[in-house]
Symmetry: C3
Subunit: 176 residues, 3 copies
């Protein structure tokens, strides 16, 4: 019943894959994203006020590159992994997300948590995210200005897409 | 001095055990709880305004099933494990907890951190939590309504016990 | 390409080293600190309103022992490690930090995130932090009293240095 060395190695690689993903989106390191997903990646996010549904690597990268824009400040902490290796090149994973998303352009502060249910596939020796789905557990919406804080560092102001660089992703995300 | 394969496998299993616990309580997945603890589990939590002290699996499950009720929204992030395998079927673990607990019925928002000190026992091939103790590091109490936020997703509203389903756990928790 | 048993063991030890560090600073367990760093440790922290730059174990411990003082309440969650073993006794690591720092003496609440880039060295069989650098991703500054919360538990009030015990670390930290 114990894990094999190969399984433990795979689990560690999959954890680092997901960690790399969260670091990339919050810092605006979009060039790192294409290597993290399969070409046929499928994504469904059930937020409180939005629902994301998309398929394909291009749509995934375009969605993320527009969501983490120059007017945003984001924290996505993905922790408490429950990774299961299901085959030589396939695995599943459950993660617990804690996120803060400040959108200065909308004066909006979102604090939330969610449970991710993912699958992973190894292609050419490298683990990639094949399907990713999350469902909210809690979500609290607040006006950012009403909270009285001053945003003294905002990495995405530099690395995120400026308004004229953004593309239309309204077909990928539905707002209530 | 290096870890053996068996030890690394055990450490991974114990991490997943604890991750499963935190996911269960915050999502209201109470049916998952009995498999996570030994029959003689002992629990002591030293919060700022409460102290929990209980023994036995039934008391543990009853305490949790009432605490994570339909009027609550909870985030319990248990991270930074320091797990030590102490025998073939015994281990210890230290964890760092970050938690948010919103009780809409009391208009209360608690933000805190704590250090867990646990022991684990393997029974029938499965690791279980045998003793669990935490002591607060910081705790901040705020009126939830005064924070100006709107709770747009609250999983426990659906999965948590409604008022008429709750039982008396006043013998398990002492409030200041 | 898979990790060896030795590498997985090293990665686990390095994770625990860093976890031990975060637990020590937030709980005021300063006696634990000297064992966690090399004698020639180098540290650079780029905060929004401060910059820390220091070298040597004595300076590191003195900086930390004064920063986590009796008027502070701190949470430093270091998660999502990306650890790479680079030699028999050397390794690198990237971590994602989420921190809350309440300074009651300045009525200041800081919430932030940062990316750590570390190197580690094994000395006498024990992994230690050799270099540690972080750069802020987001930082929000708020007056603590304006947030309306009551600090009901503050571990550092007991374990942190009282005003008359503190030493001058102004040569190690530059405030804007």
């Amino acid at each position: 019943m114990a894990h094999t060395l190969q399984q433990l190695s795979d689990i560690e690689e999959i954890k680092v894959l997901k960690h790399r993903y969260f670091r990339a989106i919050d810092t605006g390191d979009f060039a790192a994203l294409p290597a993290l997903f399969t070409q046929d990646v499928a994504c469904t996010y059930n937020g409180g006020t939005y629902k994301v549904s998309l398929a394909g690597l291009d749509a995934m990268v375009e969605f993320l590159s527009n969501s983490f824009h120059s007017g945003a400040a984001a924290m996505h902490i993905g922790v408490m992994p429950e990774v299961t290796v299901t085959g030589d090149n396939s695995a599943g994973g459950i993660w617990y997300l804690q996120d803060v998303f400040i959108d200065l352009e909308k004066d909006a502060h979102t604090f939330g948590t969610a449970i991710y249910t993912d699958t992973y596939r190894r292609e050419g020796g490298t683990w990639k995210i094949a399907t990713t789905w999350y469902d909210r557990v809690i979500e609290v919406l607040t006006s950012f200005s009403a909270m009285g804080g001053q945003l003294s560092v905002q990495r995405l102001a530099t690395t995120g897409r400026k308004p004229h660089e953004r593309t239309d992703i309204s077909h990928l995300i539905h707002w209530d």
